[in-house]
Protein backbone atom coordinates (compact mmCIF):
# COMPACT_ATOMS: atom_id res chain seq x y z
CA UNK A 1 0.00 0.00 0.00
CA UNK A 2 1.24 3.46 -0.75
CA UNK A 3 0.12 7.02 -1.55
CA UNK A 4 -1.19 8.35 -4.82
CA UNK A 5 1.37 10.21 -6.93
CA UNK A 6 -0.06 13.61 -6.11
CA UNK A 7 0.64 13.04 -2.41
CA UNK A 8 4.03 11.43 -3.02
CA UNK A 9 5.06 14.36 -5.22
CA UNK A 10 3.97 16.80 -2.53
CA UNK A 11 5.83 14.74 0.07
CA UNK A 12 9.07 14.84 -1.90
CA UNK A 13 8.70 18.64 -2.23
CA UNK A 14 8.24 18.97 1.51
CA UNK A 15 11.20 16.74 2.35
CA UNK A 16 13.42 18.94 0.15
CA UNK A 17 12.67 21.95 2.37
CA UNK A 18 14.63 20.52 5.27
CA UNK A 19 18.31 19.80 5.92
CA UNK A 20 17.27 16.46 7.43
CA UNK A 21 14.50 14.19 6.16
CA UNK A 22 13.06 13.53 9.57
CA UNK A 23 12.09 17.20 9.94
CA UNK A 24 9.48 16.63 7.27
CA UNK A 25 7.61 14.22 9.52
CA UNK A 26 5.31 16.90 10.95
CA UNK A 27 4.21 18.32 7.59
CA UNK A 28 3.89 14.80 6.15
CA UNK A 29 1.54 13.89 8.99
CA UNK A 30 -0.59 16.95 8.12
CA UNK A 31 -0.54 15.68 4.55
CA UNK A 32 -1.66 12.25 5.75
CA UNK A 33 -4.45 13.87 7.77
CA UNK A 34 -5.60 15.76 4.67
CA UNK A 35 -5.61 12.50 2.67
CA UNK A 36 -7.30 10.17 5.14
CA UNK A 37 -9.05 12.49 7.60
CA UNK A 38 -6.85 10.97 10.31
CA UNK A 39 -3.45 9.34 10.74
CA UNK A 40 -3.98 5.87 9.31
CA UNK A 41 -1.60 2.98 9.90
CA UNK A 42 -1.15 2.85 6.14
CA UNK A 43 0.06 6.45 6.02
CA UNK A 44 2.30 5.81 9.02
CA UNK A 45 4.04 3.07 7.05
CA UNK A 46 4.41 5.33 4.03
CA UNK A 47 5.87 8.13 6.13
CA UNK A 48 8.24 5.78 7.94
CA UNK A 49 9.58 4.79 4.51
CA UNK A 50 9.80 8.38 3.32
CA UNK A 51 11.76 9.74 6.28
CA UNK A 52 13.62 6.57 7.22
CA UNK A 53 12.39 5.74 10.71
CA UNK A 54 10.41 2.84 12.10
CA UNK A 55 6.62 2.83 12.02
CA UNK A 56 6.33 2.99 15.78
CA UNK A 57 8.56 6.08 15.77
CA UNK A 58 6.09 7.78 13.44
CA UNK A 59 3.22 6.64 15.64
CA UNK A 60 5.08 7.96 18.67
CA UNK A 61 5.41 11.40 17.10
CA UNK A 62 1.91 11.54 15.62
CA UNK A 63 0.19 10.67 18.89
CA UNK A 64 2.09 13.40 20.73
CA UNK A 65 0.31 16.21 18.87
CA UNK A 66 -3.39 16.81 19.35
CA UNK A 67 -4.03 17.97 15.76
CA UNK A 68 -3.07 14.59 14.33
CA UNK A 69 -6.31 12.68 14.79
CA UNK A 70 -6.23 9.01 15.66
CA UNK A 71 -9.76 8.39 14.44
CA UNK A 72 -11.43 9.58 11.25
CA UNK A 73 -12.84 13.09 11.60
CA UNK A 74 -15.97 14.53 10.07
CA UNK A 75 -16.04 17.01 7.19
CA UNK A 76 -16.11 19.79 9.76
CA UNK A 77 -13.88 19.71 12.81
CA UNK A 78 -15.47 22.07 15.29
CA UNK A 79 -13.06 23.14 18.01
CA UNK A 80 -14.50 25.26 20.80
CA UNK A 81 -11.97 26.96 23.06
CA UNK A 82 -12.27 26.30 26.79
CA UNK A 83 -9.17 28.08 28.07
CA UNK A 84 -9.20 30.86 30.61
CA UNK A 85 -10.39 33.92 28.63
CA UNK A 86 -13.11 31.93 26.93
CA UNK A 87 -13.93 30.05 30.14
CA UNK A 88 -14.69 33.28 31.99
CA UNK A 89 -16.67 34.53 28.99
CA UNK A 90 -19.00 31.55 29.23
CA UNK A 91 -17.53 29.23 26.64
CA UNK A 92 -19.34 26.48 28.55
CA UNK A 93 -22.69 27.45 27.07
CA UNK A 94 -21.17 27.64 23.59
CA UNK A 95 -19.75 24.16 24.12
CA UNK A 96 -23.10 22.87 25.30
CA UNK A 97 -24.87 24.50 22.37
CA UNK A 98 -22.61 22.69 19.90
CA UNK A 99 -22.98 19.43 21.84
CA UNK A 100 -26.75 19.74 21.78
CA UNK A 101 -26.91 20.63 18.11
CA UNK A 102 -24.57 17.87 16.98
CA UNK A 103 -25.46 15.39 19.70
CA UNK A 104 -21.75 14.75 20.10
CA UNK A 105 -19.53 14.55 23.14
CA UNK A 106 -15.92 15.65 23.22
CA UNK A 107 -13.85 14.09 20.40
CA UNK A 108 -16.83 12.34 18.85
CA UNK A 109 -17.84 12.18 15.18
CA UNK A 110 -21.35 11.62 13.88
CA UNK A 111 -22.32 8.73 11.61
CA UNK A 112 -22.67 10.95 8.56
CA UNK A 113 -19.06 11.99 9.15
CA UNK A 114 -20.25 15.59 8.98
CA UNK A 115 -19.18 16.96 12.36
CA UNK A 116 -16.39 16.19 14.78
CA UNK A 117 -16.66 18.11 18.03
CA UNK A 118 -13.85 18.92 20.41
CA UNK A 119 -13.32 21.35 23.28
CA UNK A 120 -9.79 22.63 22.92
CA UNK A 121 -7.19 24.72 24.71
CA UNK A 122 -6.43 28.34 23.84
CA UNK A 123 -6.57 29.07 20.11
CA UNK A 124 -5.19 32.60 20.43
CA UNK A 125 -8.49 34.40 20.06
CA UNK A 126 -8.84 35.46 23.69
CA UNK A 127 -9.80 39.02 22.79
CA UNK A 128 -12.75 37.61 20.88
CA UNK A 129 -13.79 35.11 23.52
CA UNK A 130 -15.63 32.84 23.33
CA UNK A 131 -14.04 31.63 20.11
CA UNK A 132 -14.36 28.63 17.84
CA UNK A 133 -12.46 27.11 14.97
CA UNK A 134 -13.97 25.19 12.08
CA UNK A 135 -11.26 23.22 10.32
CA UNK A 136 -8.80 25.61 11.98
CA UNK A 137 -10.52 28.69 10.57
CA UNK A 138 -11.20 31.04 13.50
CA UNK A 139 -14.53 32.69 14.38
CA UNK A 140 -14.56 35.14 17.28
CA UNK A 141 -17.10 36.66 19.61
CA UNK A 142 -19.61 33.84 19.55
CA UNK A 143 -22.84 33.34 21.45
CA UNK A 144 -25.00 30.25 21.72
CA UNK A 145 -27.33 31.52 18.95
CA UNK A 146 -24.48 32.44 16.66
CA UNK A 147 -22.72 29.13 17.05
CA UNK A 148 -25.92 27.20 16.41
CA UNK A 149 -26.55 29.23 13.27
CA UNK A 150 -22.99 28.44 12.25
CA UNK A 151 -23.58 24.71 12.68
CA UNK A 152 -26.92 24.93 10.88
CA UNK A 153 -25.29 26.75 7.98
CA UNK A 154 -22.56 24.13 7.74
CA UNK A 155 -25.13 21.37 7.79
CA UNK A 156 -27.37 22.99 5.17
CA UNK A 157 -24.82 24.36 2.74
CA UNK A 158 -21.95 21.89 3.39
CA UNK A 159 -19.29 24.15 1.89
CA UNK A 160 -16.10 22.41 0.71
CA UNK A 161 -14.01 25.42 1.55
CA UNK A 162 -14.09 26.96 5.02
CA UNK A 163 -12.95 30.59 5.15
CA UNK A 164 -12.35 32.34 8.48
CA UNK A 165 -13.44 35.74 7.18
CA UNK A 166 -16.66 34.35 5.74
CA UNK A 167 -17.55 32.63 9.02
CA UNK A 168 -16.64 35.76 10.98
CA UNK A 169 -18.76 37.98 8.73
CA UNK A 170 -21.76 35.64 8.93
CA UNK A 171 -21.60 34.47 12.53
CA UNK A 172 -18.84 36.27 14.43
CA UNK A 173 -18.91 39.11 16.95
CA UNK A 174 -16.23 40.91 18.94
CA UNK A 175 -12.80 40.26 17.44
CA UNK A 176 -9.40 40.01 19.11
CA UNK A 177 -8.25 42.76 16.79
CA UNK A 178 -9.15 44.47 13.51
CA UNK A 179 -8.95 41.86 10.77
CA UNK A 180 -8.88 44.68 8.22
CA UNK A 181 -9.37 43.52 4.62
CA UNK A 182 -11.49 40.44 3.90
CA UNK A 183 -9.34 37.43 3.16
CA UNK A 184 -10.96 34.82 0.94
CA UNK A 185 -8.48 32.01 1.51
CA UNK A 186 -9.50 29.06 3.62
CA UNK A 187 -9.17 25.40 4.40
CA UNK A 188 -10.29 22.43 2.31
CA UNK A 189 -10.38 19.84 5.06
CA UNK A 190 -9.89 19.01 8.72
CA UNK A 191 -6.32 20.28 8.51
CA UNK A 192 -4.89 23.79 8.59
CA UNK A 193 -5.44 25.38 5.17
CA UNK A 194 -1.84 25.88 4.14
CA UNK A 195 -0.08 26.20 0.78
CA UNK A 196 2.59 23.63 1.62
CA UNK A 197 -0.03 20.97 2.30
CA UNK A 198 -2.18 21.83 -0.73
CA UNK A 199 -5.04 22.33 1.70
CA UNK A 200 -6.00 25.92 0.90
CA UNK A 201 -7.99 27.63 -1.82
CA UNK A 202 -9.23 31.15 -2.56
CA UNK A 203 -12.98 31.57 -2.52
CA UNK A 204 -14.44 33.03 -5.75
Amino acid sequence: MTWEDKYLKQAKKIIKLYPQKRSAMGPLLHLAQSRDGYISDESISVISELVGVTEVQVKSVSTFYSMYKQEPTGKYLISVCKSISCEINDSKSVINAVKDFTGLNNNETDEEKLFTFEAVECIGACGGAPAVQVNYETVEGLTTEKVINLCKWLKDTTPDLIVADVLQEKFGGTKSFDWAIKDSSGSTGSVPGFQTFNTTKEEK
Partner: protein, 429 residues
Protein backbone atom coordinates in the same frame (compact mmCIF):
# COMPACT_ATOMS: atom_id res chain seq x y z
CA UNK B 1 -2.44 56.68 28.54
CA UNK B 2 -1.67 56.34 24.84
CA UNK B 3 -0.11 53.70 22.60
CA UNK B 4 3.32 54.07 21.07
CA UNK B 5 3.22 52.48 17.64
CA UNK B 6 6.48 50.99 16.38
CA UNK B 7 5.60 47.44 15.32
CA UNK B 8 1.92 48.12 14.75
CA UNK B 9 2.30 51.48 13.02
CA UNK B 10 2.20 50.22 9.45
CA UNK B 11 -0.77 47.92 10.03
CA UNK B 12 -2.72 50.71 11.69
CA UNK B 13 -2.06 53.26 8.95
CA UNK B 14 -2.61 50.90 6.03
CA UNK B 15 -4.93 48.23 7.42
CA UNK B 16 -6.10 47.03 4.01
CA UNK B 17 -2.75 45.97 2.63
CA UNK B 18 -0.30 45.92 5.51
CA UNK B 19 0.34 42.23 4.91
CA UNK B 20 1.40 42.75 1.30
CA UNK B 21 4.90 43.54 0.14
CA UNK B 22 3.93 46.61 -1.91
CA UNK B 23 2.36 48.36 1.03
CA UNK B 24 5.27 47.35 3.24
CA UNK B 25 7.79 48.69 0.76
CA UNK B 26 5.86 51.90 0.17
CA UNK B 27 6.38 52.55 3.86
CA UNK B 28 10.13 52.09 3.82
CA UNK B 29 9.88 48.33 4.24
CA UNK B 30 13.08 46.41 3.48
CA UNK B 31 15.00 49.71 3.16
CA UNK B 32 16.67 49.08 6.51
CA UNK B 33 17.76 45.59 5.53
CA UNK B 34 18.90 46.78 2.09
CA UNK B 35 21.17 49.48 3.45
CA UNK B 36 22.28 47.51 6.50
CA UNK B 37 23.51 44.60 4.39
CA UNK B 38 25.50 47.07 2.30
CA UNK B 39 26.75 49.53 4.90
CA UNK B 40 26.71 47.77 8.27
CA UNK B 41 28.84 44.94 9.58
CA UNK B 42 27.27 42.07 11.48
CA UNK B 43 29.07 43.33 14.59
CA UNK B 44 27.48 46.77 14.19
CA UNK B 45 23.99 45.26 14.01
CA UNK B 46 24.66 43.11 17.05
CA UNK B 47 25.88 46.21 18.87
CA UNK B 48 22.68 48.11 18.06
CA UNK B 49 20.64 45.25 19.51
CA UNK B 50 22.80 45.20 22.61
CA UNK B 51 22.46 48.98 22.97
CA UNK B 52 18.70 48.72 22.65
CA UNK B 53 18.55 46.53 25.76
CA UNK B 54 15.51 44.82 24.32
CA UNK B 55 14.42 41.73 26.22
CA UNK B 56 12.85 38.69 24.65
CA UNK B 57 9.10 38.93 24.20
CA UNK B 58 8.44 35.22 24.35
CA UNK B 59 7.99 35.05 28.07
CA UNK B 60 11.39 34.41 29.56
CA UNK B 61 12.49 38.00 29.02
CA UNK B 62 16.10 37.18 28.28
CA UNK B 63 18.20 40.10 26.88
CA UNK B 64 18.26 39.56 23.12
CA UNK B 65 21.68 41.12 22.54
CA UNK B 66 23.22 38.81 25.09
CA UNK B 67 21.51 35.81 23.49
CA UNK B 68 22.85 36.67 20.05
CA UNK B 69 26.28 37.21 21.55
CA UNK B 70 26.28 33.70 23.01
CA UNK B 71 25.70 31.96 19.65
CA UNK B 72 28.63 29.60 19.16
CA UNK B 73 30.62 29.86 15.90
CA UNK B 74 30.02 27.11 13.33
CA UNK B 75 29.52 27.06 9.57
CA UNK B 76 26.09 25.51 10.15
CA UNK B 77 23.81 27.72 12.26
CA UNK B 78 20.08 28.32 12.38
CA UNK B 79 17.49 30.92 13.32
CA UNK B 80 14.14 29.65 14.49
CA UNK B 81 11.28 32.08 14.99
CA UNK B 82 9.07 30.97 17.84
CA UNK B 83 5.55 31.60 16.58
CA UNK B 84 3.98 28.85 18.64
CA UNK B 85 2.05 31.42 20.68
CA UNK B 86 -0.14 29.24 22.85
CA UNK B 87 -0.03 30.74 26.32
CA UNK B 88 -3.70 31.22 27.25
CA UNK B 89 -4.58 34.90 26.99
CA UNK B 90 -1.90 35.65 24.40
CA UNK B 91 -2.67 36.69 20.79
CA UNK B 92 -0.07 39.34 20.04
CA UNK B 93 2.14 37.32 17.72
CA UNK B 94 -0.95 36.40 15.76
CA UNK B 95 -1.51 40.00 14.72
CA UNK B 96 2.13 40.49 13.77
CA UNK B 97 2.06 37.37 11.60
CA UNK B 98 -1.30 38.12 10.03
CA UNK B 99 -1.05 41.85 9.54
CA UNK B 100 2.65 42.57 9.00
CA UNK B 101 4.60 39.41 8.05
CA UNK B 102 7.17 41.35 5.99
CA UNK B 103 8.29 43.21 9.10
CA UNK B 104 9.13 39.84 10.63
CA UNK B 105 10.94 38.70 7.49
CA UNK B 106 13.00 41.88 7.39
CA UNK B 107 13.81 41.36 11.03
CA UNK B 108 14.93 37.82 10.22
CA UNK B 109 17.17 39.04 7.39
CA UNK B 110 18.89 41.47 9.74
CA UNK B 111 19.16 38.87 12.51
CA UNK B 112 20.65 36.24 10.22
CA UNK B 113 23.06 38.71 8.65
CA UNK B 114 24.19 39.76 12.11
CA UNK B 115 24.80 36.14 13.12
CA UNK B 116 26.00 34.67 9.84
CA UNK B 117 22.97 32.39 9.55
CA UNK B 118 21.78 31.14 6.17
CA UNK B 119 18.80 28.99 7.05
CA UNK B 120 15.85 30.11 9.14
CA UNK B 121 12.55 28.57 10.15
CA UNK B 122 9.32 30.15 11.29
CA UNK B 123 7.61 27.65 13.60
CA UNK B 124 3.94 28.65 13.65
CA UNK B 125 1.44 26.83 15.84
CA UNK B 126 -0.78 24.62 13.70
CA UNK B 127 -3.98 26.35 14.77
CA UNK B 128 -2.75 29.59 13.21
CA UNK B 129 -3.71 28.59 9.68
CA UNK B 130 -4.61 32.03 8.35
CA UNK B 131 -1.53 33.74 9.82
CA UNK B 132 0.59 30.90 8.39
CA UNK B 133 -0.90 31.43 4.92
CA UNK B 134 -0.14 35.12 5.10
CA UNK B 135 3.44 34.47 6.22
CA UNK B 136 3.95 31.82 3.53
CA UNK B 137 2.63 34.25 0.89
CA UNK B 138 4.95 36.94 2.24
CA UNK B 139 7.92 34.57 2.10
CA UNK B 140 7.07 33.76 -1.53
CA UNK B 141 6.84 37.47 -2.38
CA UNK B 142 10.18 38.09 -0.68
CA UNK B 143 11.74 35.28 -2.70
CA UNK B 144 10.32 36.72 -5.94
CA UNK B 145 11.95 40.05 -5.19
CA UNK B 146 15.08 38.23 -4.10
CA UNK B 147 14.95 39.87 -0.69
CA UNK B 148 15.60 36.36 0.54
CA UNK B 149 17.25 33.52 -1.32
CA UNK B 150 20.67 33.73 -2.96
CA UNK B 151 22.79 36.87 -2.93
CA UNK B 152 20.26 39.13 -1.22
CA UNK B 153 20.39 42.80 -2.34
CA UNK B 154 23.56 41.93 -4.26
CA UNK B 155 25.36 41.59 -0.95
CA UNK B 156 26.21 37.95 -1.75
CA UNK B 157 24.54 37.02 1.51
CA UNK B 158 22.22 33.98 1.20
CA UNK B 159 19.20 33.25 3.33
CA UNK B 160 16.50 30.61 3.04
CA UNK B 161 13.31 30.75 5.09
CA UNK B 162 10.95 27.84 5.67
CA UNK B 163 7.52 28.21 7.25
CA UNK B 164 6.83 25.21 9.46
CA UNK B 165 3.48 24.41 11.05
CA UNK B 166 3.15 22.81 14.46
CA UNK B 167 0.37 20.41 15.26
CA UNK B 168 -1.18 21.28 18.59
CA UNK B 169 1.21 21.14 21.51
CA UNK B 170 1.70 24.16 23.76
CA UNK B 171 4.93 22.70 25.09
CA UNK B 172 6.51 23.20 21.66
CA UNK B 173 6.67 26.87 22.59
CA UNK B 174 9.45 25.92 24.98
CA UNK B 175 12.48 26.50 22.80
CA UNK B 176 14.16 23.11 23.10
CA UNK B 177 10.86 21.24 22.70
CA UNK B 178 10.31 23.38 19.63
CA UNK B 179 13.64 22.23 18.23
CA UNK B 180 12.77 18.58 18.86
CA UNK B 181 9.46 19.16 17.14
CA UNK B 182 11.16 20.81 14.18
CA UNK B 183 13.43 17.78 13.93
CA UNK B 184 10.38 15.57 13.55
CA UNK B 185 10.41 14.28 17.10
CA UNK B 186 8.05 14.41 20.07
CA UNK B 187 7.95 17.95 21.40
CA UNK B 188 9.74 17.15 24.62
CA UNK B 189 11.97 19.79 26.20
CA UNK B 190 15.65 18.89 26.18
CA UNK B 191 17.95 18.88 29.16
CA UNK B 192 19.70 22.17 29.87
CA UNK B 193 22.57 21.51 30.34
CA UNK B 194 23.80 20.28 27.92
CA UNK B 195 21.37 21.28 25.17
CA UNK B 196 21.48 25.08 25.15
CA UNK B 197 20.20 26.14 21.72
CA UNK B 198 23.06 28.61 21.23
CA UNK B 199 25.48 25.66 21.52
CA UNK B 200 23.59 22.46 20.63
CA UNK B 201 20.34 23.51 19.01
CA UNK B 202 18.61 22.38 15.84
CA UNK B 203 20.39 19.23 14.57
CA UNK B 204 22.80 19.81 17.47
CA UNK B 205 24.03 22.98 15.73
CA UNK B 206 24.15 26.49 17.23
CA UNK B 207 20.67 27.97 16.96
CA UNK B 208 18.96 31.26 17.80
CA UNK B 209 15.40 30.90 19.00
CA UNK B 210 13.51 34.19 19.18
CA UNK B 211 9.94 35.24 19.54
CA UNK B 212 7.98 36.87 16.69
CA UNK B 213 7.61 40.19 18.49
CA UNK B 214 11.29 40.27 19.41
CA UNK B 215 12.45 39.87 15.84
CA UNK B 216 9.73 42.15 14.48
CA UNK B 217 11.29 44.88 16.61
CA UNK B 218 14.68 44.52 14.96
CA UNK B 219 13.97 46.59 11.81
CA UNK B 220 12.85 49.58 13.88
CA UNK B 221 15.86 49.28 16.17
CA UNK B 222 18.34 49.16 13.28
CA UNK B 223 16.54 51.99 11.46
CA UNK B 224 16.39 54.23 14.52
CA UNK B 225 19.37 52.94 16.53
CA UNK B 226 19.42 50.90 19.69
CA UNK B 227 19.89 53.97 21.85
CA UNK B 228 16.63 55.45 20.52
CA UNK B 229 14.81 52.26 21.40
CA UNK B 230 16.42 52.19 24.82
CA UNK B 231 14.95 55.66 25.51
CA UNK B 232 11.42 54.26 25.36
CA UNK B 233 9.78 52.72 28.39
CA UNK B 234 11.50 52.55 31.75
CA UNK B 235 14.76 51.05 32.88
CA UNK B 236 14.66 47.25 32.81
CA UNK B 237 11.57 47.36 30.62
CA UNK B 238 12.59 49.40 27.64
CA UNK B 239 10.96 49.84 24.27
CA UNK B 240 7.37 49.14 23.46
CA UNK B 241 5.54 45.94 24.12
CA UNK B 242 2.33 44.52 22.73
CA UNK B 243 -0.03 43.48 25.50
CA UNK B 244 -2.96 41.19 24.80
CA UNK B 245 -5.84 42.36 26.95
CA UNK B 246 -8.79 40.03 27.45
CA UNK B 247 -11.37 38.85 29.94
CA UNK B 248 -14.16 41.03 31.37
CA UNK B 249 -13.16 44.17 29.55
CA UNK B 250 -14.92 46.57 27.21
CA UNK B 251 -12.20 46.87 24.60
CA UNK B 252 -10.19 43.68 24.52
CA UNK B 253 -7.30 43.62 22.06
CA UNK B 254 -3.61 44.08 21.40
CA UNK B 255 -2.09 47.35 22.58
CA UNK B 256 1.45 48.46 21.88
CA UNK B 257 2.58 50.58 24.77
CA UNK B 258 5.67 51.70 26.59
CA UNK B 259 5.95 49.85 29.85
CA UNK B 260 5.63 51.88 33.03
CA UNK B 261 2.03 52.79 33.65
CA UNK B 262 -0.21 50.77 35.95
CA UNK B 263 -2.55 47.91 35.07
CA UNK B 264 -5.46 50.01 36.33
CA UNK B 265 -4.67 52.85 33.95
CA UNK B 266 -4.31 50.37 31.12
CA UNK B 267 -7.70 48.87 31.82
CA UNK B 268 -9.50 52.18 32.25
CA UNK B 269 -8.05 53.97 29.25
CA UNK B 270 -7.13 51.64 26.40
CA UNK B 271 -9.21 48.80 27.84
CA UNK B 272 -12.26 51.04 28.02
CA UNK B 273 -13.01 49.90 31.53
CA UNK B 274 -14.46 46.73 32.95
CA UNK B 275 -17.53 45.21 31.28
CA UNK B 276 -20.80 46.33 32.81
CA UNK B 277 -18.66 48.58 35.06
CA UNK B 278 -18.14 45.71 37.46
CA UNK B 279 -15.22 45.52 39.87
CA UNK B 280 -12.12 43.40 39.16
CA UNK B 281 -11.79 40.52 41.61
CA UNK B 282 -8.52 39.19 40.25
CA UNK B 283 -6.36 39.48 37.17
CA UNK B 284 -3.55 37.62 35.45
CA UNK B 285 -0.65 39.97 34.61
CA UNK B 286 1.32 37.80 32.17
CA UNK B 287 -0.34 34.70 30.80
CA UNK B 288 -1.72 31.55 32.36
CA UNK B 289 1.64 30.66 33.92
CA UNK B 290 1.72 33.82 36.00
CA UNK B 291 0.43 33.98 39.58
CA UNK B 292 -2.67 36.18 39.87
CA UNK B 293 -3.07 39.64 41.36
CA UNK B 294 -6.04 40.78 43.40
CA UNK B 295 -8.35 43.54 42.23
CA UNK B 296 -6.77 45.83 44.82
CA UNK B 297 -3.37 45.39 43.15
CA UNK B 298 -4.36 47.17 39.91
CA UNK B 299 -2.00 50.01 40.73
CA UNK B 300 1.04 47.81 40.25
CA UNK B 301 3.14 49.18 37.39
CA UNK B 302 3.38 47.17 34.19
CA UNK B 303 7.12 46.68 34.27
CA UNK B 304 9.09 43.45 34.48
CA UNK B 305 10.59 44.46 37.82
CA UNK B 306 7.45 45.81 39.54
CA UNK B 307 5.50 42.71 38.65
CA UNK B 308 8.37 40.48 39.74
CA UNK B 309 8.60 42.37 43.05
CA UNK B 310 5.00 41.35 43.61
CA UNK B 311 5.76 37.68 42.94
CA UNK B 312 4.41 37.31 39.45
CA UNK B 313 5.57 38.02 35.91
CA UNK B 314 4.73 39.91 32.74
CA UNK B 315 5.51 36.67 30.94
CA UNK B 316 3.93 36.63 27.50
CA UNK B 317 2.22 39.97 27.94
CA UNK B 318 -1.24 38.51 28.29
CA UNK B 319 -3.43 40.43 30.73
CA UNK B 320 -6.66 38.68 31.71
CA UNK B 321 -9.25 40.58 33.79
CA UNK B 322 -11.68 38.67 36.00
CA UNK B 323 -14.62 40.61 37.47
CA UNK B 324 -16.31 40.25 40.81
CA UNK B 325 -18.74 37.58 39.54
CA UNK B 326 -16.04 35.24 38.27
CA UNK B 327 -15.98 31.73 39.68
CA UNK B 328 -12.30 31.62 40.50
CA UNK B 329 -12.29 27.90 41.26
CA UNK B 330 -13.51 27.17 37.73
CA UNK B 331 -11.00 29.69 36.43
CA UNK B 332 -8.15 27.97 38.29
CA UNK B 333 -9.42 24.59 37.15
CA UNK B 334 -9.45 25.76 33.54
CA UNK B 335 -5.80 26.79 33.81
CA UNK B 336 -4.72 23.64 35.66
CA UNK B 337 -6.49 21.44 33.09
CA UNK B 338 -4.67 23.36 30.41
CA UNK B 339 -1.26 22.49 31.86
CA UNK B 340 -2.29 18.91 32.59
CA UNK B 341 -3.38 18.55 28.98
CA UNK B 342 -0.21 20.17 27.64
CA UNK B 343 2.33 18.38 29.82
CA UNK B 344 4.72 16.48 27.60
CA UNK B 345 4.83 13.71 30.18
CA UNK B 346 8.56 13.36 30.70
CA UNK B 347 8.76 14.47 34.32
CA UNK B 348 6.94 12.43 36.93
CA UNK B 349 5.78 15.43 38.99
CA UNK B 350 4.36 17.29 36.01
CA UNK B 351 2.83 14.26 34.31
CA UNK B 352 1.19 12.80 37.41
CA UNK B 353 0.91 15.93 39.57
CA UNK B 354 -0.92 18.24 37.17
CA UNK B 355 -3.52 15.58 36.38
CA UNK B 356 -4.01 14.81 40.05
CA UNK B 357 -4.52 18.52 40.80
CA UNK B 358 -7.05 18.67 37.97
CA UNK B 359 -8.96 15.69 39.38
CA UNK B 360 -9.16 17.21 42.85
CA UNK B 361 -10.22 20.66 41.61
CA UNK B 362 -12.82 18.93 39.50
CA UNK B 363 -14.22 17.20 42.57
CA UNK B 364 -14.24 20.43 44.56
CA UNK B 365 -15.86 22.42 41.74
CA UNK B 366 -18.61 19.83 41.44
CA UNK B 367 -19.26 19.81 45.17
CA UNK B 368 -17.51 16.54 45.92
CA UNK B 369 -14.56 18.10 47.69
CA UNK B 370 -13.16 16.84 50.99
CA UNK B 371 -11.97 18.97 53.85
CA UNK B 372 -8.53 17.39 53.46
CA UNK B 373 -8.35 18.45 49.80
CA UNK B 374 -7.11 22.00 50.36
CA UNK B 375 -4.10 20.78 52.23
CA UNK B 376 -3.59 17.97 49.73
CA UNK B 377 -3.70 20.41 46.80
CA UNK B 378 -1.06 22.59 48.40
CA UNK B 379 1.17 19.63 49.23
CA UNK B 380 0.98 18.28 45.68
CA UNK B 381 1.89 21.78 44.48
CA UNK B 382 4.78 21.75 46.92
CA UNK B 383 5.99 18.46 45.44
CA UNK B 384 5.97 20.00 41.98
CA UNK B 385 7.43 23.34 43.04
CA UNK B 386 9.12 23.01 46.45
CA UNK B 387 8.48 25.88 48.83
CA UNK B 388 5.88 27.42 46.52
CA UNK B 389 8.18 30.41 46.27
CA UNK B 390 8.49 32.88 43.38
CA UNK B 391 10.26 32.51 41.00
CA UNK B 392 9.31 28.85 41.39
CA UNK B 393 11.76 26.17 42.49
CA UNK B 394 11.44 23.17 40.19
CA UNK B 395 11.50 19.39 40.47
CA UNK B 396 11.04 19.26 36.71
CA UNK B 397 12.94 19.71 33.45
CA UNK B 398 11.04 22.76 32.27
CA UNK B 399 8.82 25.36 33.95
CA UNK B 400 5.51 23.98 32.68
CA UNK B 401 4.97 21.81 35.70
CA UNK B 402 5.52 24.62 38.18
CA UNK B 403 3.31 26.90 36.05
CA UNK B 404 0.34 24.70 36.85
CA UNK B 405 0.88 25.57 40.49
CA UNK B 406 0.40 29.34 40.11
CA UNK B 407 -3.40 29.48 39.93
CA UNK B 408 -3.80 27.15 42.91
CA UNK B 409 -1.42 29.00 45.16
CA UNK B 410 -3.07 32.30 44.11
CA UNK B 411 -6.47 30.83 44.85
CA UNK B 412 -5.43 29.49 48.24
CA UNK B 413 -3.50 32.60 49.23
CA UNK B 414 -6.08 35.24 48.37
CA UNK B 415 -9.37 33.51 47.67
CA UNK B 416 -9.39 30.57 50.05
CA UNK B 417 -13.00 31.24 51.04
CA UNK B 418 -14.18 30.55 47.47
CA UNK B 419 -12.76 27.05 47.77
CA UNK B 420 -14.00 26.42 51.29
CA UNK B 421 -17.56 27.35 50.51
CA UNK B 422 -17.62 24.67 47.79
CA UNK B 423 -16.54 21.91 50.14
CA UNK B 424 -19.51 20.31 51.89
CA UNK B 425 -18.49 20.82 55.49
CA UNK B 426 -20.47 17.96 56.91
CA UNK B 427 -18.51 15.37 54.98
CA UNK B 428 -16.44 13.69 57.70
CA UNK B 429 -13.27 11.79 56.83
Amino acid sequence: MKETLLLTKHMREYPENSHLIDSYEKNNGYKTAKSALKSLSPQQILQEIKDSNIKGRGGAGFPTGTKWGMLVEDQEKYLVINADESEPGTFKDRILLERDPHQLIEGMILTCFASGIHKAFIYIRGEYAKPARRVQKAVEQAYEKNYIGKNIFGSNFDLDIVVHLGAGAYICGEETALLNSLEGRRGEPRLKPPYYPAVKGLYMKPTLVNNVETISSVPWIIANSGLEYNKLGVEGSVGTRIFSLSGHINNPGNYEIQMGSSFGEFVDTLGGGVKNSKKIKAFIPGGASAPWFRGDQLDIKMTIDDVAKNNSMLGSGAVVMMDEDTNLVSAAKSIVSFFAHESCGQCTPCREGTTWLEMILDRIASGRGRTSDVELLLDICDNISPGLSWPPKMTTICPLGPSAVSPITSLMKDFRDEVDKLIPSKVLL
